[in-house]
């Protein structure tokens, strides 16, 4: 059970008691403990890591490395497999550049039609540089990934797309538009059985705060996520990378902290995650992220999942029957997360969003960084509600008051 006054843990709701925040997929609000940890760091520990010989620098290094352990334990990884980044986008770019630039002409990268731009654009860049080819897993009518159909050359079912040329499969765990939870365990099992050398990458941006994650049981080689979407600070993110693969990869950025020895014309690099963390890291952010994870663990991921499922069902029941609304993604609630995007017939998503805003309801409206997906499903822009365990029935009721206003203003 989650305590009923859980919002009290989040200072923003004290500052804006009437705020109905339903844009948690864009970024979550921060609990007091996280905000205090960041502030504390600068007041009590601030000093650069991995270099100073004085006490403060020791402390700072310890804090940074402790956060790495916290993250590792949270996702079932070893600490040398945790690379701190700025966000999901940087993590995916790191893999794309460090690993993808070794691809050869004709090698194939499998994505889906429902990817966020951050799991598409880096691969487009790599494909253009190397001559590798992008292939896309198609979606069925409910937006679920097609696992079995044959390929038309560019898109198709997973099984139809897999070939001897497939080198990389990179997919979102939860679509930030459809809200579908993709069956990645099953997908990666199929992929690894087909060829264990294929690299499996997860964009976990939308899942990490909502679903338990174990990188080993998922058979993932890389997993990227952002601290700010899991109650941590902005500017800190994580890339998990399997040890054996990290050892073989070239660095992404070069500079201080990632080197073992530097000569005039070449350098030797550190091993493991350290090879990929060039320059002064975001230590306060890492500490804040560690605190966010401790906060989530104290509540319990099972409790979070249960509460968000209940809230989603409450939202769904009314939204599904609301006039002129078409919900995107699967109708099977068991396969959905707590984000729901919809189209309001004849009314642009920007207008829906602006009218909701006048009722103090914060939602996202637009293409949510997934233009190809919107084109594919024939929707230009959508309005998205994304729930967190701190939302209440009252928030959802207020959303519907706003939604009724849309109908009144445009009165079709």
């Amino acid at each position: 059970m989650i305590k009923t006054n859980i919002k009290d843990d989040f200072p923003i709701f004290k500052n804006y008691p009437d705020l109905v925040y339903l844009d948690n997929a864009a970024t979550t609000q921060k609990p007091r403990g996280v905000i205090e940890a960041v502030s504390n760091y600068y007041q009590k520990f601030n000093s650069n890591v991995h270099r100073g010989l004085y006490q403060l620098a020791e402390e700072s290094t310890r804090i940074y490395e402790d956060s790495r352990k916290t993250v590792a334990a949270f996702i079932g990884a070893d600490q040398e497999e945790i690379i701190f980044t700025r966000n999901t986008t940087e993590g995916l770019n790191l893999v794309a550049y460090s690993l993808g630039l070794n691809l050869k002409k004709g090698d194939e990268i499998i994505l889906s039609l429902a990817e966020h731009h951050s799991n598409l654009v880096p691969w487009q860049i790599i494909a253009q540089k190397t001559g590798a080819v992008l292939k896309f897993i198609d979606l069925n009518e409910d937006g679920e990934l097609d696992l079995n159909s044959s390929s038309d050359g560019q898109k198709g079912g997973l099984k139809g797309l897999l070939s001897v040329k497939t080198k990389i499969v990179s997919l979102a765990y939860i679509s930030n538009v459809l809200g579908n939870i993709n069956p990645l365990k099953e997908i990666f099992k199929t992929v690894k059985k087909f060829n264990s050398q294929i690299i499996c990458i997860v964009d976990a941006a939308q899942s990490v705060a909502h679903l338990p994650l174990n990188v080993k049981s998922l058979q993932a080689d890389f997993v990227a996520f952002s601290g700010h979407k899991m109650y941590g600070p902005m500017g800190i993110g994580v890339l998990y990378g399997k040890k054996e693969i990290l050892e073989k990869m070239e660095p992404f950025l070069g500079g201080g902290d990632m080197i073992a020895a530097v000569y005039l014309n070449h350098s030797e690099y550190k091993q493991g995650a350290a090879k990929f963390e060039a320059g002064t890291p975001n230590v306060a952010g890492a500490l804040g992220l560690g605190e966010a994870i401790r906060y989530l663990q104290a509540i319990g991921m099972e409790n979070i999942e249960a509460k968000e499922k209940e809230l989603t069902a409450y939202l769904w029941e009314r939204l599904e029957n609301f006039p002129n609304i078409k919900i995107l993604g699967t109708k099977d609630l068991a396969k959905r997360s707590s984000l729901v995007a919809f189209e309001y017939k004849h009314v642009h998503a920007h207008d829906v969003g602006a009218i909701l805003s006048s009722s103090n309801v914060a939602v996202r409206a637009g293409h949510h960084c997934a233009m190809p997906l919107h084109k594919n499903i024939g929707v230009q822009a959508s309005t998205r509600i994304s729930l967190s365990f701190y939302n209440m029935h009252k928030d959802i009721d207020q959303f519907f008051i706003g939604l009724q206003k849309v109908g009144k203003i445009f009165a079709f």
């Binding site: 642009h348 998503a349 920007h350 207008d351 006048s358 230009q380 445009f410």
Partner: protein
């Protein structure tokens, strides 16, 4: 609520110059990067005077986008391309009178961006 004044909603539902032209001299498609909306604009010029005799657009946009495009296209008629280029957002907003927030800036300027791009391309071709 300032965007959703009854007269603007009325204009949104009955937009001016919405549609397509058969024989346009200038034709351009422009995308609003924040929402992905596409606008297609067509301009017909008088053969002799080179003034805008007709202009039409097609777009599934928000209220600000559609109403600003309506007002802008109304203003364009009878003007030379040089005069059209001088029309500003402020001129359009004198009619609409809405708060231009950063999120809405792209919407209110979409038709203007399209037209300016179209005019540049037309002038380069000449």
């Amino acid at each position: 609520m300032d965007f959703y004044k009854p007269d603007l909603v009325k204009l949104f539902k009955n937009p001016h110059n919405f549609g397509t032209l058969e024989d346009a001299d200038i034709e351009i498609v422009e995308t609003n990067a924040t929402c992905g909306d596409e606008i297609k604009m067509q301009i017909k010029l008088d053969k002799k005077t080179k003034k805008v005799v007709d202009v039409k657009y097609v777009c599934f946009g928000c209220l600000v986008c559609i109403t600003s495009s309506s007002v802008f296209t109304d203003m364009m008629k009878g003007k030379t391309l040089a005069e059209v280029k001088k029309i500003t957002l402020e001129d359009i907003n004198k009619v609409l009178q809405i708060p231009i927030t950063s999120a809405k800036l792209n919407c209110i300027s979409l038709s203007m961006k399209a037209v300016n791009k179209g005019i540049s391309q037309y002038e380069q071709k000449k």
